[in-house]
Subunit: 327 residues, 2 copies
């Protein structure tokens, strides 16, 4: 089946024009991350792999792109009232720094039981932490109160057009540097990253395959594609903590229509490929990024005949060194 170009389908949360505009907007603030190769991993996958090193992005993950795009799109009056989120992972750090670089406040609602290392990271980037109880209800009601008190703008971690457009800039850089790519492997959590990349890449090169990578223990996006509806997060939780969330109303249609396949990998494969990249590529990828590497080196990939050049997005590198899944 020939993949359908994004432009011919009903509009999604972002299009190639929005993603190109995002690139111009965020370019002065982000790192242009390197594209690295590894002969060892090429041999393991049976093709040429191109690793887009978003773990070397500011704040240690791709999230800084979407957060910066969202923050820079606020008008001055909106911006002055600050931004708010109740994510406590990489998005919280990214939003804190993006706001800091614009000189505006970022209010991050975090449960009192969050890891101290995560709180320290948000504070280190200039964010203001608002603590709440460790339930989704408490997070949402606390965020609503902060929004009401400050008049600030909510910037969610993935289900937002400006966030999705920001993440899509990765595909523009990838295809600029490596136009021969036949496929891109992208880890799937809430779907913001893969939605932005799919929308940009399929617009520029309709023949390109977009391959989602999910842990078996968090295969909700793969299931969502099969059932045609957004499936909830799964239990028990995967070590790939960035991929535990479900798809959102804006990302699900893109994953449903533009993502060609979603491949699942085991927890053991995640840990093994994380270690492999640490040892051979010298990059401290986090488990979520290892999910993509595991798919790129999987039996499934070795069976694909028509993919000589494959991009792999190393989405983040925020790891607690005191708590590694190996050694």
């Amino acid at each position: 089946m020939t993949p359908t170009p994004a432009a011919e389908i009903a509009p999604y949360a972002a299009n190639i024009d929005a993603i190109r505009a995002a690139r111009r907007r965020i370019d002065p603030f982000i790192h242009r991350t390197p594209l690295l190769t590894s002969a060892t991993l090429d041999a393991m996958s049976g093709r040429r792999l191109w690793f887009k090193c978003e773990l070397l992005q500011r704040t240690g993950s791709f999230k800084f792109r979407g957060a910066t795009n969202a923050v820079r799109m606020l008008d001055d009056a909106q911006a002055a009232r600050g931004v708010v989120t109740h994510s406590s992972g990489n998005h919280a750090q990214a939003l804190a720094l993006a706001a800091n670089m614009r000189g505006i406040p970022a209010h991050v609602v975090m449960p009192t039981n969050s890891a101290e290392i995560k709180k320290a990271a948000v504070r280190g980037y200039g964010g203001r932490i608002v603590e709440c109880e460790a339930t989704l209800e408490a997070r949402e009601s606390t965020a609503a109160r902060v929004l009401a008190e400050t008049g600030g703008t909510m910037v969610p971690p993935y289900n937002h057009p400006n966030v999705i457009a920001g993440q899509g800039t990765i595909a523009l850089e990838l295809l600029d540097e490596c136009p021969q790519l036949d496929a891109i492997v992208v880890p799937v959590g809430g779907g913001g990253l893969i939605s932005g990349i799919a929308l940009a890449a399929k617009a520029l090169k309709p023949s390109i395959r977009i391959i989602g990578a999910e842990p078996e223990l968090a295969g909700d996006a793969a299931l969502s594609k099969r059932t045609g509806m957004i499936e909830p997060p799964m239990k028990p939780v995967t070590i790939a903590d960035g991929l535990r969330t479900a798809l959102g109303p804006l990302t699900f249609p893109v994953v449903r229509d533009l993502v060609d396949e979603i491949v699942l990998v085991s927890e053991a494969d995640i840990a093994a490929h994380m270690r492999l990249v640490w040892e051979r590529m010298k990059l401290t990828i986090e488990p979520s990024a290892a999910v993509g590497v595991a798919v790129a080196c999987s039996d499934w990939m070795r069976k694909q005949k028509d993919r000589a050049d494959v991009g792999v997005v190393l989405c983040g590198g925020n790891v607690d060194l005191a708590n590694l899944p190996f050694a």
Copy 2:
């Protein structure tokens, strides 16, 4: 004092022409390593730091440059008889792969008590290991026997003109990308890396400062500069295992004449800056590379007024994950 340009001093082991020729020779085989920045580390050092990521070089260290240059300079008849070394560290891996990529044998003399991980690495790159007793005498006599049996060529880890010229190519790339550099910080072991870099950088930009970085526990090069003679290795040994060797007859004159200062750092600082780079830059640098980072962020560096842009060579990333000096 105005530093004396290399060209005006009696010839050393390599000159800018040899280093430029080395670059043309090795370019098809090496990785062009990225130059990365970190706002966090800039703030700690009080200037702009440019990290040359040789840990992302093939085989995980800069040694692949010198080894490739030496291997590629052999004529076909010499090459066919193979290369020999009795280094067991990063140079052994580098020489094994450089030889493998030319399709010739590499005989690596290693003590029987070498770490299995090091033997596996050499074998993995196609090297042939020749075991011997764990004394310098046994290594040298075994290497002499292998040389006699094979008619091969000895490629030492640093005290060789072609190896020094290969390492110097790092400075050409650094100054191409970042001509405004005021100084380059380089870890010092046997001195091959800093000799090549000093010879290239001072020829291209006589005003540039070359700063050596040594562990306090392996301050033999700093001492050699003061005493005017090659000082032997020190005990107890530093965790920076790549920097335990003494200078050689070819590297000492360059270090004596062209290296502006050598700054010493403590073992605690090495471990702390290694961890810092793992956590903030997401790069698994080895302790030897952390020595340079510790100098770049040192009190000594903060007192230097005239250095706005400083290059730091992250020389390698070969680390045993089961044996980290932190966590």
